[in-house]
Symmetry: C2
Subunit: 220 residues, 2 copies
């Protein structure tokens, strides 16, 4: 019983900060997306390419969540975009309170979209709202086509699924990944999910993702 | 404060079962390894190949941990090895109590090594002892060479690091993965970690891993 009660209290405290974040972002007229995936699916590379390709079109800032190291924030800052690093020191997801602090440090007035790159974990971050406009789940083709079936929660909750590293399919190195299975399983969990197969490395498929982002700005 | 106390209580309850599991395994003279990785690093494929290649040499049973579906247990059973499925229904790691129940269902007398395939998650499972003889961390080359630096806990605690999918390096599809960086970073965290670069798909490097397993049996 104690476990259940305390778990609920923690979630409520988190939701209180999530609401604050949501109000802060709405007040400033900013869009915010919470990017979630396994370690190594390519979240940072996707962000670096998106920021570079959209330079001059969309002003992007990033909140970086990592268990250790600021390797990812350094990679973002190399694009000249502002990046605030949160080091969780072992915690398996970002909390809304951590994001609330990071939002104070970003130059919000100069930004249009804030990406939160969550800790690499396909499970825990899906349970914690951060005040975002939507979740974006990233799946690398190298992880296999059974992941929506095996880790359904995040696919059920996300606005967008980016299927990354499709260059590995083109290279013929991976012949046992069935993109149609991923689409079918993801849409069974979430009828309205937008799915973009992309390669952050070669740029293939990225235009459709950029168009979706631009559409989000038009809706603000 | 409440959070810390309750967390500690849960860990102690877990450790109680971990001790029971450890005693049960020692009593039967069995070896047990807890396999941990991100989703999609190839744990199940590694186990399927290991079981098949060692058929007649080592009798292996598997405890499968998944959030949803028994896809992985079905793959193991297709090799004729016994597999007990634990579905965690959202929980991000296996508990020692779950493993305790599963151990009762395995035909222990007919087995020499029990592999526990944990939930796909590079973070949470590292904090929960299951009564195993050692942890085995699996890293796919597609996940990138920065993972020991970014997710240090599991690399610090594991007996073995299997660097999987090295066929992707040979195919020239991945040119930005530095195996030496992985080795250096993992050994900085854990001087005694054994590192085997392997491809469960092509079989490359698997012999060294099998020799290590045989050596573990000799030590029981």
């Amino acid at each position: 019983m104690a476990k259940v009660n305390v778990g609920k209290k923690i979630l409520n405290a988190n939701d209180t900060y999530a609401l604050k974040n949501s109000e802060l972002l709405a007040h400033h007229g900013k869009r915010c997306f919470n990017m979630i995936s396994s370690p190594g699916s390519g979240k940072t590379t996707l962000l670096v390419r998106t920021i570079s390709d959209l330079a001059g079109a969309i002003k992007i800032g990033v909140i970086e969540g990592d268990i250790q190291t600021d390797i990812d924030a350094q990679r973002i800052r190399a694009t000249n975009a502002p990046a605030i690093q949160i080091i969780t020191e072992g915690a398996c997801h970002l909390s809304a309170a951590q994001v609330h602090q990071a939002l104070q440090k970003l130059p919000l007035d100069n930004l249009e979209i804030i990406f939160i790159e969550n800790v690499g974990n396909l499970v825990c971050p899906s349970a914690f709202e951060l005040g975002e406009d939507g979740k974006i789940v990233v799946l690398s083709v190298a992880e296999g086509d059974d992941k929506p079936a095996k880790y359904p929660a995040i696919f059920a909750k996300s606005k967008v699924l980016l299927v990354n590293k499709i260059d590995l399919l083109a290279a013929g190195a991976l012949i046992d990944f069935d993109l149609e299975r991923v689409k079918t399983d993801a849409r069974r969990l979430n009828k309205s999910i937008e799915i973009f197969p992309v390669s952050a490395k070669t740029g293939e498929g990225m235009i459709a993702w950029y168009d979706w982002l631009k559409g989000q700005l038009a809706r603000k």
